[in-house]
């Protein structure tokens, strides 16, 4: 049997739960319509690699291979070469002739960023990494130098 107190308690609780849902109904939806709207990411969010340039157009990378050594999964492959003094690729003596990142191996730990002495390799904000073939996961130097603008807004930390 139900006591009078049970009935009042139950009524109060149902009214309370319905008030909560009514409050939710009157709040604007929190949904981000992702492909149409950009997603907010934190500034230190780590996604696809980028190779940065100096403002005069020279590559930052000096081909030291420290990122390759620091990489815990062996995702990075660098082959260095001597710069031609007449047409240098980078301000140093050497530059990276081949710079490849295998995204299937990469765990986005950011150790390459930390290891780089000239801040050439950074993990950008572009997280849309899906491709139609396995070859697409092997980023060449050309792709790393010209990253696409990511579909994100950077939020305050």
């Amino acid at each position: 049997m139900y006591s009078v107190r049970d009935v009042f308690q139950g009524t109060k609780e149902i009214a309370g739960s319905m008030a909560i849902t009514l409050k939710a109904l009157l709040t604007p939806p929190l949904t981000v319509e992702y492909p149409e709207q950009p997603i907010a990411v934190y500034p230190r969010f780590r996604a696809r690699h980028e190779l940065r340039l100096y403002e005069n157009g020279l590559e930052r990378c000096i081909g030291c291979c420290l990122c390759e050594a620091a990489c815990p999964t062996g995702a990075i492959h660098v082959e260095a070469a001597e710069n031609d003094p007449a047409h240098p690729h980078s301000p140093g003596e050497r530059y990276a002739k081949v710079y490849e990142v295998n995204l299937m191996r990469c765990v986005f730990c950011g150790d390459c960023e930390t290891a780089c002495p000239v801040e050439a390799v950074v993990l950008g904000h572009d997280f849309e990494l899906a491709v139609y073939s396995r070859d697409g996961f092997l980023l060449t130097k050309e792709e790393l130098l010209h990253p696409k603008t990511p579909n994100v807004i950077v939020r305050a930390e």
Partner: protein, 338 residues
């Protein structure tokens, strides 16, 4: 024989009513998904057409073009018959509910109700009980323990909650003094305001029985996804599943229609005497308000345990409705003799 009044007019009215109900069902699913979404701070369906208005049409097309698959272990005849047995009562239930006042069309007075039956309330109760057969047969013919358990639960739940619902209806009928739903909307002897207020007092309890009778959340025991897969619908797919799904929503519409007629004055509203076409609009508006209440309850209240459901009905709702009916009877007798 009066062909026009006996065959043609009711035929046209039935077709219009069935089309309106089926269209109403399709967009009721849209309203529900949209509202549930907003209750959970989501947007809800919004891919097909603006505001997701194309989703019901896409769903209907998908259901129609699905493969007609009959599992090998079912009782084939009953398995195919069951969805039809469920949907037909749900559709004809609405026939006695007046949706508006008399309409003057082409010099003829046309009452906006398919069948002006003397025992309208009894008709609705009887037909809604027949609707249980479709569900039980569906569960039995599926030859699946989850289906059968779902069907058994449904029958126990519907039969139990029919009692308090019936008793509350008796109280309402005592107040109106008629079983004819047209006379309940436009009573020949005006019902005093305090009796209407007393009747409204019973509405929360009547609404609980409505939730249980239509097996809507939080009383969706026939389906209980986490215990019974999908209850009696487990073995159904394609258009047969769609028919069961339709039945559920048509029950909501019919139950709301009956409640609007009994508790909230049916199609009546301001200026309805001057402009009769407003009647159906008021009626639809009131039904939508009740549907909102249905969806609100389903978004807010969790499902109780099955024994709690029956316990609540037999030890609380049923005695309470009996007491309510006795008090109503005493008051009606005293005011009429005095």
């Amino acid at each position: 024989m009066d062909w026009l009044n006996l065959i043609i007019l009711p035929g046209i009215k039935s077709i219009v009513l069935v089309l309106a109900l089926l269209g109403g069902f399709a967009y009721l699913t849209w309203v529900e998904r949209k509202l549930i979404g907003r209750f959970q701070m989501r947007i809800g369906p919004n891919r097909a057409w603006p505001f997701g208005l194309g989703h019901p049409i896409a769903d209907a097309l998908k259901m129609v073009f699905k493969e007609e698959y009959v599992p090998s272990h079912v009782d084939k005849a009953l398995y195919i018959l069951a969805p039809a047995m469920a949907i037909v009562p749900a559709l004809v239930m609405f026939a006695v509910i007046p949706v508006g006042p008399q309409l003057n069309l082409f010099g003829k007075e046309i009452p906006l109700v398919v069948a002006n039956v003397n025992i309208g309330v009894l008709w609705v109760l009887a037909i809604s009980s027949v609707g249980v057969y479709g569900i039980i047969l569906g569960g039995w013919a599926s030859n699946n323990k989850y289906s059968l358990l779902g069907a058994l639960r449904t029958s126990a739940q519907m039969l139990s909650y029919e009692l308090p619902m019936g008793v509350l209806l008796i109280a309402a009928l005592l107040i109106f003094g008629s079983l004819n739903l047209n006379e309940i909307v436009t009573p020949t002897i005006p019902v005093p305001w305090y009796m209407r207020a007393w009747l409204l007092l019973a509405f929360p309890f009547y609404f609980i029985t409505m939730l249980a009778e239509t097996s809507r959340k939080p009383f969706d025991f026939p389906e209980t996804e986490n215990e019974l897969v999908a209850g009696f619908q487990t073995e159904y797919g394609g258009i047969k599943f769609a028919l069961f799904y339709m039945t559920e929503y048509l029950h909501i519409l019919a139950a709301s229609g009956l409640a609007v007629t009994l508790f909230f004055g049916g199609w009546r509203g301001p200026f309805v005497e001057q402009i009769p076409i407003l009647g159906p609009l008021y009626f639809v508006g009131k039904i939508l308000a009740l549907v909102f209440l249905f969806i609100w309850a389903s978004a807010s209240v969790p499902r109780p345990r099955y024994d709690q459901l029956l316990n609540f009905c037999w030890t609380f709702l049923f005695p309470l409705s009996l007491v309510y009916m006795v008090i109503t009877a005493i008051v009606v007798v005293m005011t009429q003799s005095g």
